[in-house]
Amino acid sequence: MQTPFENDFFDLFGIEKTYSLDRLQLRDRFRALQKKFHPDNFASASEHERRLSAQYAALINEAYSTLSDAMQRGRYMLTLQGISTDEELDTSMDPEFLIQQLELREDLDTATASTDSAMEMLASLATKVNNEFSKREESIAEILDNTAAQDSELEKARQLVRELQFLSRIRSEIEDAEEALF
């Protein structure tokens, strides 16, 4: 992004740097910023202003989509602390979590193959995944919103964010399966 903007996304929205952020406040600030910088406000402005406004608007959109998503927000906050969650550089995962993943996948296969109750099975599987997701969100918030968090705790948060990545992938596969049944 070639904007002269150097502060982080939280500063951009003028909100506190917390994982458990106020979603409504974030949305309000997002809209207010777009009201100022969206290209529609510059349709009759000079070419350069139009280009700049498009860059700012894209940055604001990027910041909003990052902060409003639980997994991306976690990754972003860790990156701000110099911790990378790059999956390709890291293959170590909690074995217990991996086993649970395999089970979820088996459940998904069973549900899809079911002839009479596929929809119900998929729905209950989705609830299970959502619960696992929420549990991790809470734990991440506890760590990241504690300014005195130790390195080992941050490492735990990093693990949890990676687990969110796996869970959101299976969640979208469940939705794909639901769609295929429709």
Partner: protein
């Protein structure tokens, strides 16, 4: 100009002048043009007082093409030279059109061309040119009715149109000599028109079933902000498909192989099918009268239940996108407050029934479904041209289909996911896979599938002069930029060694600049219009826009961000442009515009910078928490 126009108090950013802007709904079956006058939206009528312009063009060997109602009559008499539903073909490759082929009576020229053309009595014509004819007719209607040249237009497109279809629509507008301020998604335009007025807040689904396209968009409305949360659809599904199913039923009933191959008779049957469908909105049954080639009249009775059975597959096909849009918005049916019904095909009763049953929510049908999109486009045009402050309303739209590039094994790596809010910029790094590799082929695709072959190919280009190094050590950054029209541009650069190669591409399934120039020359010769007069007028309009923008910026911030010398440089460049603009040299005006734009760059940058810094510094933070 016949009458002086006075804008509504407080609505105009430039009170001494009302600028002419219209919204155009370029539809599959019908097109419309609307404008805002004295604060009210008016759909502009033709000389006979009709608002709709049938999207049909009849090309003739001698004489100008006929557009609209006269062309409609030619559909049956001269089907091969009368092009209807061009919107179904625009921005599509020959292969895509082939799948529509059995539905189209036309002959196409070069099968391998990027832009397929139909052979007509007046030479080969692409869907882009056909659309340009329709746009030209609407432009003439608007200029006659408003008494002056248009400063700018907003043209609506189906939300589900891909990049190539959008680009092609923009090309058509260029051919018609229109200044497109924005391509606006049809469901979003409808939402604006419904006012979903300042007072209304909540989450709405816009169900838009037109003649040949289907869109569904989920919008959240809050304090004048229209935020599209997700969109889905099918850009080749609509009332035409219902007509065809009914026509097939009629042909089965007649049971005559010879007739089923007679293009004249097929057109007649399609029209009869459409009439029957329309009649069954108000009646339980209707009689279809067809005159057979042997002169006899065949009368067939169709009742509503039978028709509902025939067209059910079309309606059912719209429900999956409804479900997907909810999913992408992260919502349940219960979260939706109401459904706005848009498009002529939503007049069909069983469409309303099925949509109401699917969402279990109230349907809004009170604005004319044919006009609602043009009305919304007119309101947006009025804001963009500067007649009304943009503070009143803001649209945040999304990209309908994911964008990505081809990676090893014919797989797609998505770079921008569908339903990302636009404008959006994303970059991703790739690397070489062979030692000493100095070039890389980049293939840009659009779609949701994992395999390149299942996605829409948008552009291919090569990045050359990569310095030779070991496999995997080059860092090639590919950036995707989608603007507020939903149009993509791609750039790539290699930066490992500090040597930067940079390339910008526009998707390739539109017309090249040269082709557009040539067509412009041809069409202008055709219309016996003077190409110089037209270029001059275009440059004068642009000069006026640039001058107005700069004058108002100088009035507000001139002393704040510019020293005396900078200011006087800018003003003298502006005076020079004003002087040239009164003369007759289009090229000189163009150069002066470029000079002025260059000179004002740092002024623009300083203003923007200050603007975002003031927000960041918290000076204005209160205004955000209203």
């Amino acid at each position: 100009m016949a009458l002086l126009q006075i804008s509504e108090p407080g609505k105009s950013t430039n009170p001494h002048e009302h600028r002419l802007a219209v919204g155009i709904d370029l539809g599959t079956t019908n097109s419309l043009v609307a404008t805002v006058r004295s604060g009210e939206v008016k759909v502009l009528l033709d000389q006979e007082g009709r608002s709709l312009l049938p999207s049909v063009v009849h090309f003739r060997k001698d004489g100008d093409p006929q557009i609209g109602y006269p062309a409609l009559e030619a559909i049956v008499n001269d089907p091969m030279n009368t092009i209807a539903s061009a919107k179904r073909m625009i921005g599509r490759k020959t292969a895509d059109i082939k799948s529509l082929r059995d539905q189209l009576p036309y002959n196409f020229d070069d099968e391998s061309a990027n832009v397929p053309r139909i052979i007509t009595a007046d030479g080969p014509r692409s869907a882009i040119e056909v659309s340009a004819e329709i746009l030209t007719a609407l432009k003439k209607r608007a200029e006659a009715s408003l008494g002056g040249e248009l400063n700018g237009v907003v043209i609506t497109v189906p939300a589900y149109f891909d990049d190539a279809q959008r680009q092609a629509t923009k090309d058509a507008a260029r051919l018609a000599g229109l200044n497109v301020m924005r391509l606006l998604n049809e469901p979003t335009a409808a939402a604006i028109a419904y006012g979903l007025d300042q007072g209304s807040e909540g989450i709405y689904a816009i169900y838009d079933l037109g003649g040949g396209t289907f869109d569904v968009s989920i919008l959240r409305l809050n304090k004048g902000v229209f935020e599209v949360l997700a969109t889905a659809g099918d850009s080749a599904l609509g009332g035409d498909d219902m007509d065809r199913l009914i026509a097939e039923w009629i042909l089965d009933d007649i049971d005559d192989d010879g007739l089923s191959k007679d293009s004249y008779f097929l057109r007649q049957t399609m029209l009869a099918a459409r009439e029957a469908k329309e009649a069954l909105t108000d009646n339980d049954s209707t009689n279809i009268n067809l005159s057979l080639p042997d002169g006899t009249i065949r009368e067939i009775m169709l009742d509503r239940n039978t028709m509902n059975g025939l067209i059910a597959p079309v309606i059912d096909k719209t429900l999956l996108p409804c479900k997907r849009s909810l999913r992408d918005a992260g919502l349940q049916k219960d979260d939706i407050d109401a459904i706005v019904m848009v498009g002529g095909s939503t007049r069909v009763l069983s469409v309303k029934d099925k949509v109401e049953e699917f969402f279990s929510k109230k349907l809004y049908t009170d604005v004319d479904p044919d006009q609602v999109v043009a009305v919304g486009a007119a309101i947006q045009a009025d804001i963009l041209v500067g007649n009304r402050s943009a503070d009143d309303m803001l649209l945040l739209d999304v990209i309908p289909l994911s964008l990505g590039i081809e990676i090893m094994g014919g797989m797609v790596e998505k770079i921008i996911p569908r339903n990302a809010t636009i404008p959006v910029t994303r970059a991703q790094e790739f690397t070489t896979y062979k030692d000493g590799q100095t070039a890389m082929s980049i293939h840009v695709v659009q779609g949701e599938r994992e395999l390149v072959s299942d996605c829409r190919s948008l552009a291919r280009f090569e990045l050359r002069e990569i310095p030779p190094m070991a496999a995997g050590s080059a860092r090639i950054k590919v950036s995707f930029k989608v603007d507020a029209d939903g149009l993509l541009s791609v750039s790539a650069s290699e930066s490992t060694t500090g040597v930067e190669t940079h390339i910008d591409v526009k998707p390739s399934y539109g017309l090249t600049d040269e082709e557009i120039e040539q067509m412009l020359r041809d069409s202008i010769a055709h219309a016996e219009e003077d190409i110089h007069a037209r270029q001059l007028a275009e440059q004068q309009v642009e000069a006026e826009r640039v001058i107005l923008a700069l004058e108002s910026a100088l009035a507000v911030d001139g002393d704040k961000f510019l020293n005396e010398a900078e200011k006087s440089d800018l003003i003298s460049a502006m005076e020079e442009l004003k002087r040239l603009s009164d003369g007759g040299d289009a090229d000189a005006i163009k150069r002066a515009i470029n000079d002025l734009n260059e000179l004002s760059e740092m002024f623009a940058a300083r203003r923007m910078d200050a603007s975002i810094r003031s927000v960041m510094a918290g000076h204005n933070i209160n205004e955000f928490s209203d």
